[in-house]
């Protein structure tokens, strides 16, 4: 049934020789069949295959009903082919990226606009008409946020089209990694997106551990899960505060804003850094979690849980907030399916997909978290999913601390350098998948015959979701944009790399 596509478990290294190398024609038909069958794209990029010395396309799909398996395909790249995007919008940005970085032309692709490079030559869509006007916003915005350009074509207040131009944050991360010493990797990986430093580091350490065959203790997994959940809490709580601010409900904005800081302070207790930078290395934690710190975390969670509940109640029962959250920025479930969105955005549109439940790694299989969904696909839904996930994460942290029991310091690693003592598996592929707070985050690495990493690919959940934001703005009021944008809260730097 999955002829030519190899079922893989995320986080397990696969020798390139075990993967069928497909001719493009077979690959193309197989992929179309899978997509018709409801598959979603996880990764799609090219690299120079050291085994056959040719450029290969690497595709990772996920599909319901395959347990914790993903589908992996390798195909000899062609210079051009009939774009998958013609039939499946899920490929839209992946194919644009391939065209930009590898020059592989997807024929019939609706817009091969720049993704990250040469953005000064960006060819915006233009709607002509007597009453149509354009509004350009950014890259420098009014608030303290990252740069991106939003071009609205509107008639009066009504938006016909929003085109989002990104790339301003491009720092060349993937290329930089390949030319950097391994000791520099942690800080670069954690700098991909500071608000997702722990999740990115987790994707990376899982990849390194699989390639270097490093085993991971249960305690280590627990602490890593704890750190990821603290990261989720700080961001979700911060987002609820920012959403309150955008509808001018200042009490909740102030309270959530402060509480966000409390979670960052807990991450600081774990790692010495408010964003959890410096905590993870392959096979180890760089800092000891003392029992005093664990007690402090437990006490803080106990203290803050009722506060969050009470402010949440205040927010969600205030009529002026309800009327601004409901039916604004609606992403219908069909649109969400079609675009292949992930994370909070998908769950708010009724799609029950959460990597923590569907592909559990670390301690997630022991946590039995529910998948929180909403039906409306509106700002309300995205706020509510966050709120429910906050309560779940607070509970999860208590459970994790309980699982940790008396703390052993045996899983401490004195230094980065030891973590790279083992050689990497040669000519292999590794794909890792984790639920960052925004959604499905994935890293992939390919090694050559000597075990050297020759391609490192990072895919932020925002890569799936930016187009959805553009879609929901169609026929919306232009003044609703800040609120919609905040409810998605996508990553600029994670996308731009």
């Amino acid at each position: 049934m999955n002829e030519g596509l190899l079922p893989i478990i995320p986080g397990e290294a696969i020798p390139l020789s075990k993967i069928p190398h497909l001719h493009f024609y077979d690959f193309y038909n197989e992929v179309l069949a899978q997509m018709e069958d409801g598959a979603k794209v996880v990764q799609y990029f090219a690299f120079n295959d050291p085994v056959v010395d040719r450029k290969q396309l690497l595709l990772v799909l996920r599909k319901a009903g395959m347990g914790n398996r993903l589908l992996l395909a390798l195909a000899y790249a062609t210079n051009e082919y009939l774009a998958f995007s013609v039939h499946h919008k899920k490929f839209h940005l992946f194919e644009r990226e391939l065209y930009e970085t590898e020059g592989i032309r997807p024929i019939g692709h609706p817009s091969l606009h720049p993704v990250r490079k040469q953005i000064e030559l960006y060819p915006f869509y233009c709607i002509h008409g007597h009453e149509v006007h354009e509004v350009g916003v950014g890259p420098v915005h009014a608030g303290v946020i990252e740069p991106g350009h939003f071009r609205f074509s509107a008639v009066g207040e009504r938006v016909h089209l929003l085109e989002i131009q990104l790339g301003y944050q491009h720092r060349g991360v993937e290329q930089l990694l390949l030319k950097s010493a391994t000791s520099a990797w942690p800080m670069i990986i954690e700098g991909i997106a500071g608000d997702s430093a722990v999740s990115n580091a987790l994707c990376w350490v899982q990849a390194m551990e699989a390639l270097a065959n490093i085993s991971v203790s249960r305690e280590l997994k627990i602490v890593r899960t704890l750190a990821v959940e603290l990261e989720r809490l700080s961001n979700h709580v911060g987002d609820l505060g920012a959403l309150s601010n955008d509808v001018a409900f200042l009490p909740a904005a102030a309270y959530f804003g402060r509480m966000r800081g409390e979670f960052l302070n807990l991450l600081l207790l774990l790692s010495g850094n408010r964003f959890g930078k410096g905590l993870l290395v392959p096979g180890a934690l760089r800092f000891e979690l003392s029992s005093e710190s664990a007690d402090l975390i437990r006490a803080k969670i106990d203290e803050i849980t009722p506060e969050i509940k009470s402010v949440g109640k205040l927010l969600f029962t205030t009529p002026s907030v309800q009327s601004r959250f409901e039916r604004i920025g609606v992403l219908q479930v069909e649109q969400a399916q079609e675009l292949g969105v992930v994370g909070i955005t998908a769950r708010a549109s009724g799609i029950d997909y959460d990597v923590r439940v569907d592909y559990p790694r670390e301690s997630y299989s022991e946590l039995n978290l529910p998948i929180r969904t909403q039906k409306g696909g509106d700002v309300w839904g995205r706020a509510m999913v966050r709120f429910e996930e906050i309560l779940d994460s607070l509970g999860a942290i208590k459970t994790l601390l309980g699982m940790l029991g008396r703390i052993e310091s045996s899983f401490l690693q004195p230094s980065h350098s030891n973590a790279f003592a083992n050689a990497f598996a040669p000519s292999s592929v590794i794909v890792t998948l984790n639920e960052g707070w925004r959604g499905e985050l994935s890293h992939a690495a390919v090694t050559d015959g000597a075990g050297k990493i020759i391609r490192y690919k990072i895919k932020d959940p925002s890569f799936h979701n930016w187009n959805a934001l553009a879609q929901v703005m169609r026929e919306s009021e232009i003044s609703d944009f800040p609120l919609c944008n905040k409810s998605f809260n996508l990553s600029y730097c994670g996308f731009d790399l």
Partner: protein, 276 residues
Amino acid sequence: MYKVLLNRYQQGQRTSKFPKEEIILPAIYRGRPQLSALEQLGETKKSTDECIKSCPFSALALDGKERPSLNLDMGKCVFCGECEKNSGGELVRFTNDFKMGADQRDKLIVTSASSTHSKKSTHGDSTNGNELNDFLQARSRELKKMFSRSLQLRQVSAGGCNACEADINVLNTPFFDLARFGIQIVASPRHADGLLVTGPVSKNMKEALLKSYHAVPAPKMVIAVGSCAIAGGPFHASDEVLGGVMQLLPVDLFIPGCPPHPLTTLFAILNYFGIL
């Protein structure tokens, strides 16, 4: 309305008394680095070299001909703590002191020679604070006259990873409450007295940053917040970034950290503009 008032009562007063009252951060926080004098330790050349080499971002160096000293450049440093681990805290130690900042690039270099006398004092005490206060003496009076009651800053992220941006945003929350010092982060550079720049300055942001700078009326200040903005941080070796704000604009104030703790940013700004 009743619910709002009730909630307000339950929340209570949360604003910190800083700077009137000191805040002590947890010992694990990696703040101002302290270097040990080499000869006192009787360190072998080999272990010092190893420590220097352990830094992935070349922030450590040996200096001084007859009396060798170890230097740590807080501008290049991303506070990963690798050197501290490598030397077992012997050569480099990160204190929990958040008070950092300098008005000149080379003042960000900490040397083992200069940190010897402050080694006696426990971190976070007044000795340390006074030393740091030196950095503003010269310009302070003039700046104080202009900005001490009202300072408007415009933030520009030029390739920042959102950690620096987030911890600047945090200054507006009730705990730090930036507004009580008369400082505001404003929406337009035309209303600003200066720019708070984050990120290594990606090539794609170069033009936008320049335009923002020119839109600020003179006299204008440029503040580089975070390792990236100071010298490129973890991205300094990438071809896609300029490697720090200094490559493009004159910088008046440097605030180190990856990202700087909100208290670091607050401390540096309050001191530099004479707002304390």
